[in-house]
């Protein structure tokens, strides 16, 4: 980097300090801690799927439609697959889509929100016009329409489709906060010191809204988990991949509910709910940390 001098003066203690500033109080918050624990649990399952999974989830060699037993803890599907193995491998897709959509959405929201707020003028007006147009699009409908054309969509494409409908919310919120910060003296002081636009946006404004950015990220993750599962349940996207959503789709397709095969549809439903709840809990935790009124009530 060009600005090595300042980095050598201060950036190491700053980075450590900032991390402690954000992470430590978050982990002290009970809701956030629970959310992080659930998230880490699913993350581990996804990572260790090859070790944890008793069988190959695609194998159709078992007795079909069996109820839970010692060999198949969660029974088997109508076509003779081991449901536990499917559940374990199926952890990967929702996590990947959630994190992918969360990351993409947050990047776009940060880029557009901060630059529009900071630079103002015609630039701001054009960006906000585009943002508002995307905002009034009915999200789920758009996602369904786009994904009905993507029969072999991979996780990245599904993340992109979700991002199309989720970025405007964050962009608006971050723009509003940027406008608020822009009027603060420390931004004016940085301008007087000679900072250029890029540094103003990413070194002065952005570090002061980490909690907003983080909550935007986790909210998008929640939205993505639910949306991706809904899509697959509806048979959109690629239903031949193994994921919680596609397990639900095949369960529904085989009328698991009618025949009372709860071991087929309850676990994926529960898992989707739990992962969503994890993101929601982390978000509540961030809210409580940044909103003093909530913090007092929490004590």
């Amino acid at each position: 980097m060009i600005d090595a001098p300042s980095a050598s003066v201060s950036s190491r203690p700053r980075r450590v300090g900032q991390w402690l500033l954000v992470v430590r109080p978050l982990l002290r918050n009970a809701k956030a801690r629970t959310g992080v624990a659930i998230f880490l649990f699913f993350g581990l399952v996804a990572l260790l799927a090859p070790i944890l999974s008793p069988y190959n989830p695609h194998l159709t060699i078992f007795a079909p439609g069996a109820s839970p037993s010692a060999a198949h803890w969660l029974g088997t599907t109508q076509s003779g697959q081991d449901i536990l193995s499917q559940m374990i491998w199926g952890t990967r897709q929702p996590l990947e889509i959630a994190l992918g959509a969360g990351l993409l959405t947050t990047l776009i929201a940060v880029g557009i929100g901060i630059s529009a707020g900071l630079f103002g003028g015609v630039y701001d007006e054009i960006l906000m016009l585009i943002t508002n147009i995307f905002l009034i699009l009915p999200g789920l409908v758009v996602v369904i329409v786009i994904s009905s054309y993507l029969s072999s969509a991979n996780n990245l494409m599904i993340s992109l489709v979700i991002t199309v409908t989720s970025w405007p919310w964050g962009a608006r919120v971050l723009r509003a906060q940027t406008l608020n910060l822009k009027s603060k003296d420390f931004v004016k002081a940085a301008i007087v010191a000679g900072e250029m636009r890029f540094r103003l946006a990413f070194f002065e404004v952005l570090p002061n809204m980490t909690s907003l950015v983080a909550s935007n990220f986790f909210f998008t993750c929640l939205y993505a988990v639910v949306t991706a599962a809904s899509l697959q349940f509806l048979g959109l996207g690629n239903i031949n991949t193994v994921s919680w959503g596609s397990i639900l789709y095949w369960a529904n397709n085989s009328q698991a509910l009618m025949i009372g095969a709860w071991w087929w549809f309850v676990p994926p439903g529960l898992a989707i709910g739990l992962l969503g709840a994890a993101f929601a809990l982390i978000n509540f935790g961030i809210d409580e940390l940044t909103n003093p009124r909530l913090r007092r009530e929490a004590k």
């Binding site: 050598s8 003066v9 201060s10 420390f186 940085a190 007087v192």
Partner: protein, 338 residues
């Protein structure tokens, strides 16, 4: 002082804020045809109560905003609104600002070292690395933060208000500027710390030969700091004179009121009357007319122009009582002739 051209000059500078909301359009006349000069090495104090347009003047000089009318001259050249990045950067190296609120003028996520080191890095004044770190420590010690090394890695929330303001001063000093704009630098500090900061600024003025616009709402503070004092009321310069002259022989009724208020109560700012409401821009008279103890009928009808007082080289007043038939030189072309 009139022998060499001023380093900074405001020529009939006006600033109008237009706030557009869905329902209405409000217009605030923050500055009206303000003319001021600051010579090299000179300290000019700008005094006025809250809302009179002092910060607006500071931000215009710091080029945080543009004038709506008039011109600002710096070092013999008019400031160009469409200036290129290079010209602007050069200006920022030479003109620095100290902000009023030490709590909001430092970024909570950056260390003291970052705040003070950035101007050095931006203007490439010191080679990166150890030399820059050493320069940052020197600057911190210059503003009285001993030992500098211990402050470098501190965050603003670990400092007191007085220490923060010193960091703000060190940051402003870092590029070794020719002009310091100090916008009420002591008003948010404990009374016990104010004199320290004022003395620090006076020291810097003598050691660094820096010119200063010292903004305050307190006349005695202005007298302590400045060579000349300009009194501002509702965006208009009411009176301007060398500090000792203004303190001894104030002629404008508003200055007199300020002086009475400040001798009665050091430091808490003038409480001449209630808060300043928005000025009706269409009112033709003197802005001080509604509160003036010695107003005349003419005062509500025409705005007094700024006129030099006869026999006094650098004493300027904007009042009908001192604006008589002997054709005073007015605003635009008025220059003190010695």
């Amino acid at each position: 002082m009139s022998s060499s051209p001023p380093l900074i000059e405001l020529r009939n500078v006006s600033k109008v804020f237009v706030n557009r909301s869905l329902r209405q359009r409000s217009v605030v006349y923050a500055l009206r045809e303000v003319s001021l000069t600051i010579a090299r090495g000179e300290v000019l104090a700008l005094v006025g109560e809250s809302g009179s347009g002092k910060s607006t003047t500071a931000q215009l000089l710091a080029r945080l905003t543009h004038p709506s009318g008039g011109e600002i001259w710096f070092d013999g050249r008019a400031i160009n609104r469409q200036a290129g990045a290079r010209e602007l950067r050069q200006y920022r190296r030479r003109v620095q600002m100290i902000f009023q609120d030490p709590f909001s003028s430092l970024n909570a996520v950056h260390t003291v070292g970052y705040h003070v080191g950035r101007p050095l890095a931006i203007h490439r004044l010191v080679p990166p690395g150890r030399a820059l770190a050493a320069q940052v420590e020197t600057l911190l010690e210059t503003v009285g933060l001993h030992p500098g090394r211990e402050f470098v890695s501190k965050f603003p929330h670990q400092l007191s208000g007085g220490q923060r303001q010193r960091v703000g001063i060190a940051r402003a000093l870092a590029p070794n500027p020719d002009v310091l704009i100090a916008d009420e630098p002591t008003s948010m500090l404990d009374v016990s710390l104010r004199l320290d900061v004022m003395n620090l600024l006076l020291d810097l003025r003598t050691t660094r030969k820096v010119s200063m616009l010292y903004i305050t709402h307190d006349l005695s503070g202005a007298n302590y700091m400045a060579d000349r004092i300009a009194v501002m009321y509702r965006g208009t310069i009411m009176e301007e004179a060398p500090a000792d002259v203004l303190m001894k022989d104030p002629v404008h009724p508003y200055t007199r009121l300020l002086l009475d208020a400040s001798t009665a109560d050091f430091g808490n700012g003038p409480s001449v009357a209630g808060p300043l409401g928005a000025l009706d821009p269409s009112s033709p008279g003197c802005p001080f007319y509604p509160r003036c103890p010695s107003r005349m009928p003419v005062c509500s009808e025409t705005r007094p122009v700024s006129a030099w007082i006869a026999d006094e080289a650098e004493h300027r007043v904007s009042c009908h009582r001192y604006h008589d038939a002997e054709s005073p030189k007015t605003g635009r072309d008025a220059q003190p002739k010695v």
